[in-house]
Symmetry: C2
Subunit: 494 residues, 2 copies
C-alpha cells in the first residue's frame, strides 16, 4: 500500500515556485466557487506517520486559500465535555457547514489505531471499529460531504532522516517532542497496524490518498493538486435530480404490528389518577437515584397527528426536575441545520450523563414524512434505518437509555380529534389543511411505520407501541415504560 | 423590601381550582402568541430563600404552558467547560431565542450573594458585582428581552414551618437536603445580604417582583397572574418605529486620530521579508510558551474596505498552529443569531485558554456600519460603547489578551485598490456597487471611527491604529503588536 509513496521524489526550487503560484491561484478560485453557492461541505482528514509534514501542509493550505473559510480542528485526548458524550459527538460538532472547508488533524481513526498499536484493542475489536468508521464515512459521503483523506507516508529511513534534520535546526527542534521520539521507535509496530487499516478503510466513496511525504516541495504540490482536482470534479458534477416519491408500500395484515394493536384501552379517570401518581413517583425516584448521574436518557416521541404526543410529554415532564431535562420540538430545520448532514441537528442535543432529552418528533422523520411525501430520495431513506440504528447504538453504548414511543390512534379517532380541534377556539391553531391531506396517505404512513418498527427496534433501543385512543392509558403506559427502563438501567449501572 | 411579602395570605381550594383553570388557559394562549410571531425572548429569573417553593413554581409553569417551548436552566457550580470561559459565558449560551421562554433557576446573582454571605466578597467588590449585573440586565432589556425577576420570600418563622412540613412527609422529605438545613441556620445573614441586593438591583427596566411564598396556592396564582399580565402588556405594546440614521457627525481635525496618521509608511520588500520572519517567529514562540495554556487571545480586525484585513489575518495565521486558532468572518447574522441579543453571536466564539480567536469584523459593526447606515437606532449604537467595554473587560478579566486593530488607508489609496480589483479577473468578486456607495460616506465613517477609538480604547483592550497604505508595513505592525502583547501577558501569567 505504501511502497509507491516511499520512492524518492524531488522538485527543483524554481519549478516549485512557478507551480505553486498557479496552484494557489486555482485553489483560491475553487474555494471561492465553493462558498458562493454552498452546495456541499468539504472535509479533509490529515493522518499519517510522525514527522511527515502534516502540520506544514495544513499551514500551506491556510496560506494558499482564504483561512477565514477553513476550520482546522485538532483531536487529541478528549476534554471533560467531550468525554461526557459518545466518542463521535466531538467530531459531529466540528463538521464544516456547506460551502466551507474543514480540516481534521487526527480524526475518528486516531484513537483506535493508537490503542491497537499499544495492544489495548484486540484484533476483533479493531475490526469492529474499522467497520464503524466506514459506516460513518459512507453516511457523510451520501449526505453530500466531499470527504478527502490524506495519509502522509515516510519510510523508516526517511523518517529517521527527517527527525535528525528537525533536531539539528534550532528553529525546528521544538517540533520533535519526546512523544514523537517514542513513536519513532515503534515505527514497525505502527506501520503493521496502519497498512491494513488504510487498505481496508479505503472505500469507493471515501478512499485514502497516500502522500509521498519525504520531499517538502513534492509533497506540497502533490496534496495541492489532488485537492484542486477533487474540488473541481465535485463542483462540475451535475446536481442529483429531485426525488420522486417511492410507490406507497403496503403491509400484509398478518405482520402489520399497528393493525394488531387494540387501540381502545380501558382506563377510568379514577384509575388514571391513581396510576399516574404511581408511575410519576417511580420515575421521579429513579431520577433521584444515587447512580442516575452515570446514565443519560433519550426519549423519542412519534405518532399519528393528534395522537397526544404533547400531552404525554407534559405528564412525563411533570415528574422531572425542570433543570435536568430539555424538550427538543423537531420541526423545519434552521439555516445552520440545513447546512449540515441530516443527523447533525440531533447530535447537537445528545444529553450528558444525569440529563434527559425528550425529542418531540425526531430523526425518524426521514423514514416517515420524508419517505411518504418524497422529501427524501429513496436511496436516502432506505439507508436511514441502518444509520439510525448506528446512531442509537452509539448513544446506548455510552450509557444512554434510549426509549422510543409510537403513539397510535385509529383513523376514526383521528377524525374525531381533528373535528374537535376545529370546533374549539383555543385548539384551532393545531389543525391545518395539511393535516387533513395527510389523512389521504394513511395507509402509506402505516406501512412506513411498520417498516420503521421492524427495522429499528433493537435490544438496546426498542420501540414501544402505545395504544393511544384513550389518552389516559397512553400517558400511563409511556411513563411506566420509561420508569421500567430506568430502573433496569440503574441496577446495571456501574 | 420584604415585609409585605411576609403577610399571611390564604386561598381556598375551590377558588384556586377555578382561578387556576382560567390562568392556565390564558397563559397557554399568550405563549402561543409569543411563538407565532417571534418578536422578543422571555427570560424569567427564579430566586429567593430556600424552601420557598421555587422548584414547585417552575414545575407549575411547565404544566400550565407548553413545556416544549420553555427552556429551564439550572446554574450550580460551573462545569469544567463553563469555568474555562468568563463567568457570564454560561448564561449567554443559555439565553432563549425570540418567541421562547427561558427560565434561569439561579442566575448571575447566585454566586455573588453566596460569596458575600460566606464572607468571601468584600462590600466594595459586592457593590461592583451588583453594578455589573445591572449593566447586563439593562443591556438585555434594551436588546428586547422581556426580563422578569421573581424573588420568592418567606419570613424566618414561615421557613421553619415549611421545612418541618417537608421533613414530616415521606414523599417530600428528600427535598430537604443537609445543604438546605445549613442555609436555614444562616437565614439572618442571608437576608442581610439579599435585602439590599434586591433593593439596589431592582431597576426600571428589570425590577424584582417579591413573591409571598408561604401559601402554595396564593404563591402560584401570584406568579401566574404577574407573568400573564407582563406577557400581555409586552405583546400589546406597539413595535418601536424604524430607526432613522443619526445626522452624520464631524470631528474637528485637531482630535481626529485618523487624520493624524501618516498612512504611507516606508518598508521595502527586503525589510519586510526580514521583519515578517522575525515577528512571526516571536509570535510562534509566544504561543508555544509554557504558560500560554493559561491565557486566551482575542484579535479583532476592523478597517476601511480594501484596507487589507484579509491579508494581515493570513500572515498572522501563518505563524500559528492551525489547530489552536479559529477565524470568525463576521457578516450577516444567521437565523439563530438574529433571534438573540446582539452580543450573543460573539459570546459563542469566546475562546478557551490556550486558544486564539480572530474576528474579521466584529461587534464594532454596531458603532460603524450600523450607525452610519442607520441599521441600528441611535439609542442602540449610543449604548453600545459601554456594552462593548464591559464585554471586553470580562474577557480580559478572565485572562484574555484582547487586541484590536483598525487598518487605515487614505481615500485615494482605496480608490486605487478598488480600481485594481475591478481590473483583475480573480479579484473582481471583491468589489461591488455597495463598496463604491460607501465611499460617499467617507467622512461619516471617519467620524464614527474616531468616536469608536476614543470611547473604547481601554487599558486592557487598547486600539492599535495601523497605517495600511503600505500593506507590508501594516502586516508587520499587526503581528509585532500582537507578539508584544503576548510577551507581556505571559510574563504576568500565574
Amino acid at each position: 500500500m505504501f511502497e509507491a509513496a516511499e520512492l524518492e521524489h524531488k522538485v527543483a526550487k524554481a519549478d516549485y515556485k512557478r507551480e505553486e503560484e498557479t496552484l494557489r491561484r486555482d485553489l483560491l478560485a475553487v474555494q471561492r466557487a465553493l462558498g458562493q453557492r454552498p452546495r456541499f461541505p468539504v472535509l479533509i482528514l490529515i493522518a499519517g506517520v510522525e514527522g511527515a509534514g502534516k502540520s506544514e501542509t495544513v499551514h500551506l493550505l491556510n496560506e494558499w486559500m482564504d483561512p477565514r473559510f477553513i476550520e482546522v480542528s485538532g483531536f487529541g485526548l478528549p476534554t471533560e465535555e467531550e468525554a461526557a458524550h459518545p466518542p463521535m459527538w466531538r467530531f459531529w460538532r466540528a463538521l464544516p457547514p456547506k460551502g466551507r472547508i474543514g480540516v481534521f488533524f487526527g480524526a475518528w481513526h486516531t484513537i483506535p489505531i493508537l490503542e491497537r498499536v499499544l495492544g489495548r484493542l484486540s484484533a476483533g475489536d479493531f475490526a469492529a471499529r474499522m467497520e464503524e468508521i466506514m459506516r460513518l464515512e459512507r453516511m457523510l459521503a451520501q449526505e453530500g460531504v466531499l470527504l478527502l483523506k490524506y495519509w502522509f507516508h515516510l519510510s523508516k529511513a526517511q523518517q529517521k532522516r527527517r527527525i535528525k534534520a528537525l533536531e539539528k535546526d534550532r528553529e525546528t527542534s521544538w517540533k520533535v517532542t519526546r512523544y514523537d521520539r517514542k513513536l519513532f521507535e515503534h515505527y514497525d509496530d505502527f506501520i503493521a497496524v496502519c497498512e491494513p487499516f488504510v487498505r481496508e478503510t479505503s472505500t469507493a466513496e471515501a478512499p485514502w490518498t497516500v502522500v509521498p511525504a519525504a520531499d517538502d516541495r513534492y509533497r506540497a504540490l502533490f496534496v495541492g493538486r489532488h485537492l484542486l482536482a477533487a474540488l473541481r470534479a465535485r463542483l462540475d458534477a451535475p446536481e442529483p435530480p429531485a426525488a420522486a416519491p417511492a410507490p406507497a408500500a403496503t403491509v400484509p395484515d398478518k405482520v402489520n404490528v399497528i393493525r394488531a394493536l387494540e387501540l381502545r384501552q380501558a382506563m377510568s379517570r379514577e384509575d388514571y389518577e391513581r396510576r399516574l401518581a404511581e408511575v410519576q413517583g417511580r420515575l421521579a425516584r429513579a431520577t433521584r437515584h444515587k447512580r442516575y448521574g452515570r446514565i443519560s436518557v433519550v426519549a423519542v416521541f412519534e405518532g399519528n397527528d393528534a395522537a397526544g404526543k404533547g400531552g404525554a410529554i407534559r405528564r412525563l415532564a411533570a415528574a422531572l426536575d425542570p433543570r435536568a431535562y430539555r424538550i427538543v420540538p423537531v420541526a423545519a430545520p434552521s439555516e445552520e441545520e440545513r447546512a449540515q448532514p441530516y443527523l447533525w441537528r440531533f447530535w447537537r442535543h445528545v444529553p450528558r450523563p444525569g440529563r434527559l432529552t425528550i425529542f418531540d418528533r425526531s430523526w425518524y422523520g426521514r423514514v416517515l414524512v420524508e419517505r411518504v411525501e418524497g422529501f427524501a430520495a429513496e436511496p436516502d431513506w432506505r439507508r436511514a434505518y441502518a444509520e439510525i440504528n448506528d446512531f442509537e447504538a452509539q448513544l446506548a453504548g455510552h450509557g444512554a437509555v434510549v426509549a422510543k414511543f409510537w403513539l397510535a390512534i385509529s383513523k376514526d379517532e383521528q377524525h374525531r380529534r381533528f373535528k374537535d380541534r376545529e370546533a374549539t377556539p383555543f385548539k384551532q391553531h393545531k389543525i391545518t389543511a395539511e393535516d387533513w391531506r395527510n389523512r389521504e396517505k394513511w395507509d402509506a404512513y402505516e406501512a412506513a411505520v411498520c417498516e420503521m418498527v421492524e427495522r429499528t427496534s433493537t435490544r438496546e433501543a426498542p420501540w414501544t407501541l402505545v395504544e393511544a385512543d384513550n389518552k389516559l392509558h397512553a400517558r400511563v403506559k409511556v411513563i411506566a415504560t420509561l420508569a421500567d427502563r430506568l430502573e433496569v438501567a440503574l441496577k446495571a449501572a456501574k
